[in-house]
């Protein structure tokens, strides 16, 4: 019963958030200068044609009307069609306005569904790498607060967070890919193309994990249940592994929920540098081409993902620590 209540409440709140986000993005895109119709029909089209197409697409209606029409499509699973991309493949933005060969435009939902798995693969691998870096450093640092492992965690965290991701990407591509020839870097033709981008992303995430882990492990080790456990005759190893770490993982999970948007920003840049065909590259291209429906679609999908991840995080956190009440 608790679970049902919780889910209903959180999903309702989430729906409000997604609605707000989509309205915000929708309005912003229509308020800022730059006419997308001009991009669709090309620079040579007469003004009358621009106006005519804009009327046909409903782009001259009041914003609330447009938003209502758009949202009624979205709830039926129709996010509209891309302004620019044809269903068959490559973008043809700015093609001639009387080009009859231009085929039907791609569905926004299809575009997102095609690229999302790549991004998911990248994100998961990056998470694994980040944990591999952060777990030993963070836990060891937390076990010895004030001593050198703690300082080491602080320094390494400060240094890693200071590496700009795009610069690291370029340097790694130059050294690992061009000079050493160990890993492929640009594009996507197999799993090995994910590794280098994932490393760059992991370096970006790891400092946050290290900092959270150090603080939460140190805090838990100071609690009385830890000192009592030693009196109960439980080995130090088991106290750390089973008791302290279990409770320290709650802040780590929360971090995942809060820092989701940061992860996404990193994905965007990393995919752009490595020309990795995921959601991030799609977003950048959509923005540069003023593909409004696509930008809106991506904003809705990512904010929905944010809401879902936070719900799942809170659920897992309550199973780890039943005292937590959401």
């Amino acid at each position: 019963m608790f679970l049902v209540n919780f889910l209903i409440r959180r999903l309702a709140q989430g729906a409000v958030i997604v609605l707000l986000v989509s309205f915000l993005i929708f309005t912003l895109l229509r308020v800022v200068p730059g006419d997308p119709v001009r991009l669709i029909v090309g620079g040579m089209a007469p003004d009358a044609l621009v106006e005519q197409i804009a009327e046909e697409m409903g782009l001259r209606d009041p914003i609330p009307v447009q938003f209502f029409r758009y949202m009624s499509g979205v709830v039926q699973g129709d996010m509209g069609q891309s302004f620019i991309r044809p269903a068959s493949g490559a973008a043809v933005g700015g093609a001639s306005f009387d080009d009859n060969t231009r085929s039907e435009r791609a569905n926004v939902l299809d575009l997102i569904a095609d690229t999302a798995p790549y991004t998911l693969q990248l994100a998961v691998l990056a998470m694994v790498f980040a944990l591999v870096i952060a777990l030993p450093i963070g836990i060891y640092g937390g076990l010895k607060p004030g001593k050198w492992p703690d300082r080491f965690a602080l320094y390494i965290g400060s240094l890693l967070i200071s590496l700009p991701n795009f610069w690291l990407g370029i340097v790694l591509a130059l050294v690992v890919s061009v000079n050493l020839g160990w890993l492929p870097a640009i594009g996507y033709q197999g799993f090995s193309y994910t590794i280098l981008p994932a490393i760059v992303l992991a370096v970006e995430i790891a400092p946050f994990l290290i900092r959270t882990l150090t603080v939460s492990v140190a805090q838990n080790m100071g609690e009385s249940y830890i000192s009592v456990a030693a009196i109960r005759g439980i080995s130090h190893r088991r106290i750390v592994m089973a008791h302290a770490l279990k409770n320290s993982s709650v802040p780590l999970l929360n971090l995942l929920g809060v820092q989701f948007s940061m992860l996404l920003g990193g994905v965007l840049v990393v995919e752009f540098i490595f020309d990795y065909p995921g959601l991030g590259l799609l977003t950048i291209n959509a923005v540069l081409q003023r593909d409004f429906p696509l930008i809106q679609g991506i904003a809705i999908v990512t904010s929905a993902a944010f809401v879902m991840i936070n719900i799942v995080v809170d659920l897992i956190a309550t199973t780890i620590d039943p005292r937590l009440d959401y």
Binding site: L28, P164, W167, I170, V171, L174, V215, S261, V287, R290
Partner: protein, 305 residues
């Protein structure tokens, strides 16, 4: 804070005489990483302010004859005139880095100011008022928090023209929600305390309580840790520049220098890598200071200093 008065040890008197802000700053100053950070950061700032004034080299002057000169001690025909080499148009890299640093620092600082101002005002208002005001403001905050900042920034800057005020405004307005949340939780805890009730009984207006009593108490711990966000914003600004959505060329910024240098990576590695090292040093110094301040704050609030 009155309830942490019973500090044990000889420092008790000393600790009582100082405000929390002073104690945090002093605690950070005692750590070696803060001093290193401060030293590097001050050097960088002074150099970026005065070097372009002193030196006669123009960062935008094109000198094709001297193009792609490698940095000192690397490769052939390097010169002391261009210690970090030149780019594809023969412009001096050292000077371009310093000018880029100026813009980065300016944009980073201005952005964090806006974030702090907006976030703290929203948080203060929501936390003090509570009730419906709180619910509405916090739902807006949540909504904003769930749009990835960078997507919002590139969406706006991509479709409008990226000028420096626009960049500052967009980054600042997309980064405030975290501050609003922290400020709200602190204010909610403080507003139930006796001194606030006392002030209310004495007839102080809401504005007076908020700005003269609560704000000076809650702001410093948040503002100190904002140093970390200056570093984050500098990275954001250079990412935008890298994507071509930041400060536009020919004005040099780290982002657009590196984006340019990417095309010459194999022949002239220094164009893309040297500004990155500059950026890294600046960010590392900021992050070291921020981390030291954050630790010191946690110690002060944990009652250990």
């Amino acid at each position: 804070m009155p309830n942490t008065m019973e500090v044990i040890g000889p420092d008790a008197k000393e600790a009582r005489a100082r405000t929390i802000a002073q104690r945090i700053a002093l605690g950070a100053w005692r750590s070696i990483e803060f001093r290193i950070g401060l030293f590097v950061f001050t050097t960088m700032v002074l150099l970026s302010i005065f070097w372009p004034m002193v030196s006669a080299i123009d960062p935008m002057k094109i000198n094709i004859g001297a193009k792609l000169t490698p940095p000192v001690l690397f490769g052939e025909n390097w010169t002391w005139t261009h210690p970090l080499g030149t780019d594809q148009l023969g412009r001096d890299m050292l000077m371009r880095c310093f000018v880029g640093l100026r813009y980065s620092l300016f944009i980073g600082l201005a952005t964090v100011m806006i974030m702090l101002a907006v976030g703290c005002l929203v948080g203060l208002w929501a936390g003090y008022r509570g009730g419906l005001t709180d619910t509405i403001l916090m739902r807006i905050t949540d909504a904003q928090l769930s749009i990835p900042m960078i997507i919002l920034a590139i969406a706006i800057l991509g479709v409008s023209r990226p000028t420096i005020p626009a960049i500052i405004l967009v980054l600042g307005l997309s980064g405030w929600p975290v501050y609003a949340r922290v400020m709200r939780s602190v204010v909610m805890a403080e507003r139930k305390r006796e001194f606030v009730r006392g002030a209310t009984i004495l007839g102080a207006s809401d504005l007076r309580i908020m700005f003269l009593l609560l704000l000076p108490l809650c702001l410093p711990p948040i503002a100190f840790v904002a140093v970390l966000d200056v570093a984050r914003m500098i990275i954001f600004e250079s990412v935008l520049g890298f994507l071509g959505l930041g400060v536009q060329p020919p004005t040099p910024t780290f982002g657009n220098i590196i984006a340019d240098g990417r095309k010459y990576l194999v022949n002239a590695w220094w164009i893309a890598t040297v500004p990155g090292i500059f950026l890294f040093l600046t960010l590392a110094s900021l992050n070291l200071m921020g981390a030291a301040l954050e630790r010191s704050r946690n110690r002060v609030y944990g009652g250990k200093a």
